[in-house]
């Protein structure tokens, strides 16, 4: 991950000394190598999110299982000796 970000930084900085500014302001890095890194990071990001969602679904399944077993039910009041 670190390498990706550092390469992106390097590319962004190397674009800086452009004599005679471009007529169209670049709102997105134009160098093809930078674009590739960005799309790849996006794919990895989505993988992260999907796996996190899968883990949450696993947790929910477990919660449903334990709730069906009755973990939430209040215990009957135990008669006290007083």
């Amino acid at each position: 991950m670190k390498k990706l970000f550092y390469t992106m930084i390097f590319l962004l900085l190397s674009v800086a000394p452009l004599w005679g500014a471009a007529a169209k302001i670049e709102v997105f890095p134009s160098a093809p190598y930078a674009r590739y890194i960005i799309y790849e990071s996006l794919a990895i990001f989505w993988l992260f999110i999907i796996s996190l969602i899968v883990i949450i679904k696993l947790k929910l399944r477990e919660i449903a299982r334990t709730q069906k077993l009755g973990i939430n039910r209040e215990a009957a009041p135990i008669p006290q000796l007083e």
Partner: protein, 156 residues
């Protein structure tokens, strides 16, 4: 090899997996935010290019300031005529120094530090001499660079 009991409870496994992944995810996001929030602009340059004509006609024992990033650079013609380009920043706590022609010394007002004509720290708290730059003339340009930096002018 099958074991009769589980080494870890379902709860512990799931919570660790969830917590760990969430930490990794947040760390990545925070890294991106941090990289953006921490400034990179305003770093000190490795060299600056100046107009030679402005600086070469100084009277002896006078100085002229030039910009070194956000800090002052001092272009100095000594009393004996030799030229020195130094960073006008005190090596103690980074206050700006000034030249006092009467005493032929550089003075830092913050903690009364003194440097001689050659940038050597002679009195007060500064631990090191002032940083000295290498200066060259190329045509009509005066190039002041940090020692050891290879100057490559961009193709204008």
């Amino acid at each position: 090899m099958k074991i009769d009991y589980s080494l870890i409870t379902r709860r512990r496994f799931l919570n660790t997996l969830f917590g760990g992944w969430l930490t990794a995810f947040s760390a990545g996001a925070l890294y991106a935010v941090g990289k953006f929030a921490f400034p990179t602009l305003g770093k000190e340059p490795d060299f600056v290019v100046l107009k030679a004509a402005d600086y070469m006609n100084l009277a002896p024992n006078t100085t002229k300031l030039f910009a070194w990033g956000g800090k002052p650079g001092i272009f100095f013609r000594k009393a004996d005529g030799a030229i020195l380009a130094i960073k006008g920043v005190c090596t103690h706590m980074e206050c700006n120094v000034t030249y006092k022609p009467a005493e032929r010394k550089f003075y830092c007002a913050c903690h009364q530090g003194w440097f001689d004509e050659n940038g050597q720290n002679i009195k007060g708290p500064p631990p090191k001499p002032l940083e000295i730059f290498v200066h060259t003339i190329e045509g009509d340009k005066l190039i002041v660079a940090r020692k050891g930096v290879k100057v490559e002018l961009p193709k204008a």
